[in-house]
């Protein structure tokens, strides 16, 4: 039989339900894969094979007792180490939270456990989810299982959810959670040939997720394909009274309602995303995507998102501003790292703790954020950015009068090599296509479209109207069916 670890989330769930294999067998298979790859891929910060087994045993017992199984019964998953997990270190890939073990479980992770999923471990990420290459992790970057043709250079698995993308792509877990603030689910999915969706802001509770930028952070699933994402998102989403920004709306049966027939649908192609010097492979994948959606019955229309060119600047003001405040709580007083030099007073302790506990990228963003909120600069930066954010949202509102979904590349290039982009600005520029949907709070997903000329996955991004995850998933499915993306990284680890 195909290895259990090659199976996706639904296949595992169904196989367990039918008795083709037990949940424990699945957990064991993935635990072994995780252990084998850990050194080479560094996808996990903490592995929890016992937790995966315990959850699996429970599912097997439930099934044996003839009781109803949860939506994700028997599926072991990876948990991005930004979600608080009770009794398991939650570090946000930082030194300042190294060893921090929450006494509480995030809403989203709890929902997943309640649905019958088990935890293989806590996945690597960019420190506090700040980054797009995983290089800001205090525990070293996750390594992509993919390599360029004829090259052994270590590539980025993307970021910030790079541990998640590496682990799913390398089949260390059938699915993983991600969080997306400016593209942190979509870009790593695109870089590693998997699917991932960021739902509408507010769909998934933020309670228990270490905050980066509160007005942008949104959890979502990363998995083999669109159907797996749809099902996992159903388990993750839902109103949470503990999150004041949570959407009080029913969670649709996205997976049951999947439909790749796009007749009568209009797909918008934003002309501003056709940037000069766009990577030829990316441009070709985009054209392929347009053709596939036409083939699925959609009408393709040209649309304009005129304020797109300001999106990156806006994002890199708003996100650091919120982060500078959100990260103030890591002060060495109550939990996490405390660096108390001899004779230090309170201010000295703050300075020493935060100097030692935060990485360079986190410090950079705290500084940027502090600066843009400062007296005398606030209006020029923060207020202005909020105004532009409104204009960007309005662009989308206008566009969605003419179309149902928008198709664009997920990232301007395929995955790059670790260490290749040493200037932070180069990294920031990689978020150009993903950030606008984040600023507008829109659902957006990345699906694999093909391979670049040097053999690396390319992703296509579908952006939908608020609350229309279904439209996004349907268009994603239409692409998936036509792209027939079946490439897998050759196992070298």
């Amino acid at each position: 039989m195909t290895g259990l670890t090659d199976l996706g989330l639904i296949a595992i769930r169904d196989g367990v339900a039918k008795g083709e294999f037990t949940a424990v067998e699945v957990a064991q298979a993935f635990n072994a894969a995780v252990a084998e790859a850990q050194e080479a891929l560094n996808a996990f910060i903490v592995t929890t094979p016992e937790a995966a087994l315990a959850a699996a045993e429970k599912v097997d017992a439930t099934r044996a007792a003839g009781k109803e199984l949860g939506k994700l019964a028997g599926v072991p998953i990876g948990m991005k180490d930004l979600f608080a997990t009770k009794g398991v270190q939650t570090s946000a890939a930082s030194k300042i939270l190294e060893g921090f073990t929450p006494q509480y479980e995030s809403t989203v992770s709890q929902k997943l456990w309640d649905a019958g999923a088990g935890m293989l471990g806590k996945l690597n990420l960019d420190q506090f989810a700040m980054g797009s290459s995983n290089e800001s992790s205090a525990f070293g970057p996750a390594i992509s299982p993919w390599r360029r043709k004829g090259d052994t250079a270590a590539l980025t698995a993307g970021g910030s959810s790079g541990g998640s993308s590496a682990a799913v792509a390398a089949r260390l877990c059938p699915a993983a959670t991600g969080t997306d603030t400016g593209g942190s689910i979509r870009q790593p999915a695109a870089f590693t040939g998997i699917s991932g969706i960021k739902p509408t802001y507010g769909r998934c509770s933020r309670w228990g997720i270490v905050a980066f930028a509160s007005s942008l952070d949104q959890a979502g699933p990363m998995a083999h394909d669109v159907a797996d994402c749809a099902l996992m998102l159903e388990a993750m989403a839902g109103f949470d009274p503990k999150d004041a920004t949570s959407l009080d709306m029913p969670v649709p049966d996205w997976s049951a309602l999947l439909n790749a027939d796009l007749k009568g649908k209009k797909v918008g192609i934003p002309r501003e995303y056709r940037i000069e010097g766009l990577n030829a492979d990316v441009a070709k994948a985009w054209d392929d995507g347009i053709a596939w959606l036409k083939d699925a019955g959609a009408e393709v229309v040209d649309i304009s998102l005129p304020h797109s060119k300001y999106a990156l600047a806006t994002y890199y003001i708003i996100a650091p501003a919120e982060a500078s405040s959100n990260l103030a709580r890591y002060d060495g007083v109550r939990y996490g790292l405390r660096d108390l030099p001899d004779g230090a007073n309170l201010q000295d302790m703050y300075a020493a703790t935060r100097a030692a506990g935060f990485g360079a990228e986190v410090k950079r963003r705290i500084l940027i954020g502090t600066y843009v909120l400062s007296a005398g600069f606030y209006d020029a930066y923060y207020t202005q950015a909020q105004k532009v954010r409104t204009l960007i949202s309005r662009d989308f509102e206008e566009a969605f009068r003419q179309c149902d979904v928008i198709l664009a590349p997920t990232a301007p290039t395929p995955a790059f090599a670790l260490g290749e982009k040493s200037n932070p600005l180069d990294l920031y520029l990689g978020d150009v296509f993903s950030v606008p949907a984040s600023l507008a709070g829109l659902p957006a997903m990345s699906v694999p479209a093909g391979l670049s000329s040097d053999g690396l996955p390319l992703g296509l991004q579908i952006i939908g109207r608020p609350f229309d995850e279904q439209g996004v998933l349907n268009a994603g499915l239409a692409i998936e069916q036509r792209a027939q993306f079946s490439a897998k990284p050759e196992k070298w680890w």
């Binding site: 979600f83 608080a84 939650t90 946000a92 939270l97 921090f100 929450p102 006494q103 509480y104 995030s106 933020r206 309670w207 228990g208 997720i209 270490v210 905050a211 930028a213 509160s214 007005s215 009274p241 503990k242 999150d243 004041a244 920004t245 501003a321 919120e322 500078s324 405040s325 990260l327 103030a328 709580r329 002060d331 007083v333 109550r334 939990y335 309170l346 201010q347 703050y350 502090t370 909120l373 400062s374 007296a375 606030y378 923060y382």
Partner: protein
């Protein structure tokens, strides 16, 4: 409006004081502003702290609508504009008692806008007429925790029980011109929040405290530079701060110095303020809208409920006591001064009216006089107040009814009250048991009178000869002979008759 004539006499002439108060009032609620934690005063350190209050990673604030409701009701009580759309901002600074590293407050869009309250005229205090004091705004915000420096020789401890407790910040206009006005404003504000029930007003427990902004100027000049003295926790101290700080500023200016805008602390032992930090090292708080919270939008139904649940407020109540119940302005003022007194009085009034089957207006004076001149004194002797009174308004009404229907005299009523306080027994039971019923038997009284007139024939002579002042002597003797239980009105009538001979 007559302006205050309060002046600081400097070496170079007179100075006028300008005062504004920022009052922090803890909202009465079982739970904190953004978490479900309890808020009891005096609990064990760190026993009332949720994950949110301790700012654990990933924790989020959710507004407690009861706190919002109380702030709105307070706003309505000062006739302020209520903003149906308001927003929370973060005030960022680092301190060990501030777990989040920011305080959630409302800088840009407060919940309550412009309002006012009226302080009463108080001639003796230099407030010749009632004066309207403007209130700029009320916003809600989180309190911080508390540092404890006395627990360990080299370390400070943090108690987060107060962390996240809801405060209303009530910001006045710089409309006050004397310590007395500042004191009267704070007292009035305290009175109003206690009536509304939005704050218990316990200043000694920190439920209410004031930041006192003071500046001085030549009468009629532009405002001077102000200082802000933080966390003053009694009316008396607020008045002392105004006076000492104004004098300090005058002396400074007259010495050729300049007042600097700064934050100061009051030292009650030395009765002086001292600098805490100047504007130069003031924090840049980097206020910005809290992205964890949506704007607060209030609907009409919510506002209507807030308005409908407002009690009669002190000014209206006082006016009604005078106009509707016929009480003196002074008594009305004392009875309405504190909400607990007014509540007790109204319960007494209702019970008294019903016990005597009369309209409230007919028994109001009796009830008010008894409460103010008899009962307060008696309680006071026992070291008690209305809240700890062993006698309920209903029990008191029974006593007043016994006086009202002539069963006992006013002086016997005093004895009965003492017994009631002593034993906890009902007035009727005591009167019955001790045989204190007033004697209205004219025959018996006439017999006693006859005896006394016989014994004191000389005095009768004198009385009849024009020494009418002796009438009191005969009343006293009669009453004494009847152990005080005779109906005094009947004694009067019968004595007059008998003496007229």
């Amino acid at each position: 409006m007559t302006e205050s004539t309060y002046r600081i006499q400097g070496a170079t002439g007179e100075w006028e004081v300008v005062i504004g108060l920022e009052v922090h009032a803890q909202v009465t609620s079982n739970a904190k502003l953004f978490s479900g934690s309890a808020t009891a005063f005096g609990a064990e350190p760190n026993s009332q702290v949720s994950l949110v209050d301790a700012a654990m990673p990933g924790m989020l604030p959710v507004p407690n609508m009861e706190c919002i409701r109380q702030a709105v009701r307070t706003g309505m009580a000062i006739e302020a504009a209520i903003n149906k759309w308001s927003r929370f901002d973060r005030k960022n600074y680092f301190y060990a008692d501030l777990p989040q590293g920011y305080q959630i407050s409302q800088l840009y869009h407060p919940l309550v806008g412009e309002g006012s309250l009226t302080i009463e005229a108080d001639e003796k205090a230099g407030i010749p007429e009632p004066k309207v004091i403007g209130i700029e705004r009320i916003h809600v915000e989180q309190d911080a925790g508390k540092l404890m420096h006395d627990q360990h020789p080299t370390m400070s401890y943090v108690d987060l029980n107060r962390s996240g407790v809801a405060l209303m910040e009530i910001v006045s206009r710089p409309d006050m011109r004397s310590p007395a006005e500042a004191g009267a404003y704070l007292s009035k504000l305290r009175q109003i929040v206690r009536y509304v029930g939005s704050c218990d007003g316990n200043m000694d427990q920190g439920s209410m405290r004031a930041d006192v902004n003071v500046s001085v100027r030549r009468p009629g000049d532009e405002f001077g530079t102000r200082t802000e003295t933080k966390n003053v926790n009694s009316v008396r101290f607020v008045m002392a701060v105004v006076e000492s700080e104004a004098k300090r500023q005058v002396a400074l200016i007259e010495d050729g110095g300049k007042v600097v805008q700064e934050t100061r602390l009051y030292d009650p032992d030395k009765n002086e303020t001292r600098s805490m930090r100047s504007k130069e090292d003031a924090h840049d708080y980097r206020y910005f809208p809290d992205p964890d919270l949506l704007p607060l939008v209030l609907d009409d139904a919510f506002l209507e409920e807030c308005r409908a649940s407002l009690p009669e407020l002190p000014d209206a109540k006082r006016a009604r006591y005078v106009d509707g119940l016929g009480l003196s302005a002074y008594n009305a003022g004392v009875l309405t001064n504190d909400v607990d007194t007014a509540r007790w009085f109204e319960a007494l009034l209702a019970a008294t009216a019903s016990a005597q089957n009369k309209p409230e207006a007919d028994v109001a004076k009796q009830a008010a006089n008894w409460l103010l001149s008899e009962f307060f004194g008696a309680l006071n002797k026992l070291g008690k107040d209305l809240s700890s009174s062993p006698i309920s308004p209903e029990g008191a009404a029974e006593l007043l009814a016994l006086v009202g229907n002539g069963t006992i005299s006013g002086s016997i009523a005093k004895q009965v009250l003492e017994k009631m306080l002593e034993t906890g027994d009902a007035a009727g039971v005591i009167v019955e048991r001790e045989g204190l019923k007033q004697n209205s038997d004219t025959g018996a009284i006439e017999a006693v009178i006859a005896e006394i007139l016989t014994k004191n024939a000389d005095k009768v002579e004198q009385y009849r000869g024009g020494k009418e002042a002796l009438f009191g002597f005969f009343v006293g003797q009669t009453m004494k002979a009847m152990q005080g239980k005779a109906n005094p009105q009947i004694i009067n009538e019968l004595l007059k008759k008998a003496l007229a001979g």
